[in-house]
């Protein structure tokens, strides 16, 4: 099943995809574009991976890491499908990152990789935007790059684990204004999902709802105000985001 959280007609609803349509928990069918999509999960802890695809690590001129490069985000960073993400006027290079999101299903502590999928609830799509101008070499990537308000679109769906039988062999791609700019496959991750769950759960206890964004392949390009950015993962979802400049973002606040 594909589940969503949406706002519609004055309330927040749980919804699900039924025969290609969006059905609210109360039985109403609504249209994709008449609802406000919220992030499908509300994790307490959000992990994200840097440099987790060999090709991307090469593109950024780093050697592939021998230990996962993990950072964290707060809830301010997440926004839903069809949301608007601000590109600050002083940003020179802001790029998307199409990533498979793994949602944890139950508390996980010292989990062996062989059992790791038992702890997964499902999957979602993330777009982990970065503004490279703000990178600094302390606890890099720093939060000013990776924890900006609304800079991590998530969704549209939480797809049940059972509906994604081969999470390590999914095609990812990003389209900017309809043109494919990034392509990859989850099998090219340096540290795969079972490894990441074993690694993280050896450090700390993971909770139900926690989210792991597993990194992005090569093919990053600068995106501009007005761009429609679609990050898409086979069988998991097609996440649409609209880039806006400061003028449009703050319109009405002048």
């Amino acid at each position: 099943m594909k589940r969503a959280r949406i706002a519609y007609a004055g309330a927040v609803h749980d919804a699900a995809e039924v025969n290609g349509r969006l059905r609210l928990a109360d039985g109403r069918f609504v249209h994709e574009e008449e609802v406000v999509w919220l992030p499908p999960v509300q994790p307490r802890t959000v992990f994200a991976l840097g440099l987790n695809y060999a090709d991307h690590a090469k593109e950024l001129a780093f050697k592939a890491p021998d230990e996962p490069l993990v950072f964290m985000k707060g809830p301010n960073a997440l926004i839903g499908h069809r949301g608007r993400t601000r590109r600050p006027a002083d940003a020179g290079y802001m790029h998307y990152e199409c990533e498979l999101g793994v949602v944890i299903g139950r508390p996980a502590k010292r989990v062996d990789r062989a059992q790791a999928y038992d702890y997964v609830a499902g999957y979602t799509v993330a777009n982990d935007y970065a503004i490279r101008d703000y990178l600094e070499n302390y606890y890099r990537p720093n939060l000013r790059v990776k924890n900006r308000d609304g800079c991590t679109p998530l969704g549209p769906w939480l797809v049940d684990k059972a509906d994604v039988p081969q999470p390590m062999n999914l095609r990812l791609r990003t389209l900017v204004n309809g043109k494919t700019t990034q392509e990859g496959r989850t099998r090219d991750m340096i540290f795969d999902i079972p490894f990441l769950i074993e690694y993280l759960s050896a450090i700390m206890t993971l909770a139900a709802g926690d989210l792991i964004l597993t990194g992005t392949p090569e093919g990053l390009v600068d995106v501009k105000p007005g761009d429609e950015v679609v990050t898409e993962i086979e069988g998991v979802g097609r996440l649409v985001n609209f880039m806006v400049g400061d003028d449009a973002f703050y319109r009405g606040n002048a």
Binding site: R44, T45, F47, L69, V70, F71, M72, K73, G74, P75, N76, A77, K109, R110, Y134, E136, N137, Y138, Y139, R140, P141, N142, L143, R144, N147, R148, D149, L200, I203, M204, T205, L206, A207
Partner: protein, 266 residues
């Protein structure tokens, strides 16, 4: 006749469903909930807030100065410009009196005394001059970490382990702390004073830090932004009891215990 109950704080014990107003008397080590006055150590404490907890790196002048030479060399290349932040996720939070787990194969943990600024109103792009309006109060944060010399990569292994962030016991209301810019922080290990510093030595003051941080990320009610830990953080070993004390705010004490002794579920 009962005294009027004029709370100066709020706190949460494990038998409460949510935090409740409290009157803290730091001199006598007592806390009063309604008509009930009890000794601080007689209660089973939970953490007093439930938002997102952020820490700030290198915000004490001594901590920044100690890195002065390295900052111009790789991997840092230049001194930091924006505030450097990190998260202390919910698995790290523990209440007053609860054990800090020392991982197998580690000798000691670093004890980071930190003033936690508790957010009271949604804070986005706040001006320094108005920043205190967004502050609900203050709490004591013991930002525990494994010693790590390199600050190049995010410190998940070092800072985000279960039980690595005692918080509380209470949040003292902003109005009850008259000079947040001049608070003495102390760390005691087994009763001995190991470190002392003051929020007077912050690189970014509390209002400036709130302005610079909320320029790019919104803080919500119940979030904590801790303003940094002083240089030369003391170490604590298994069996020792650590106390972080902040003048006018409170103190939090926790024993350090071997992870193995604490069982599988911390």
């Amino acid at each position: 006749m009962a005294d009027a109950f004029a709370p100066n704080a709020f706190a949460k014990t494990r038998d409460m469903r949510q935090a409740a107003p409290a009157l803290v008397d730091p001199r006598h080590g007592t806390v009063r909930f309604g008509a009930r006055t009890v000794d601080v150590d007689a209660l089973d404490w939970d953490v007093p807030v439930d938002g997102t907890v952020y820490g700030t790196l290198l915000n004490f002048r001594g901590a920044l100065d100690s890195l002065a030479e390295a900052m111009n060399a790789p991997p840092y290349k230049e001194p930091p410009k924006a505030p450097i932040l990190y998260l202390k996720p919910p698995n790290t939070w523990i209440g007053h009196g609860k054990p800090i787990p020392l991982p197998d194969r580690e000798d000691a943990v670093e004890i980071g005394a930190a003033l936690g600024v508790v957010i009271g109103r949604t804070a986005s792009r706040v001006k320094a001059a108005e920043a205190f309006d967004f502050v609900r109060g203050y709490t004591v944060v013991n930002d525990v970490c494994l010693p790590h010399a390199s600050l190049f990569r995010p410190p998940i292994r070092q800072r985000c382990r279960d039980g690595f962030c005692p918080i509380g016991p209470w949040v003292i209301e902003r109005a009850a702390v008259t000079r947040p810019e001049r608070l003495t922080l102390r760390v005691f290990v087994d009763g001995g004073l190991r470190a002392e510093n003051s929020t007077a030595h912050l690189v970014r003051s509390i209002p400036q830090l709130l302005a610079d941080v909320t320029d790019f990320m919104t803080l919500s009610p119940g979030d904590i932004l801790h303003v940094g830990t002083p240089e030369q953080a003391p170490l604590a070993r298994a069996g020792e009891r650590v106390r972080v004390e902040i003048e006018g705010v409170g103190w939090i004490e926790n024993p350090v215990m071997r992870e193995a002794e604490l069982g599988a579920a911390p």
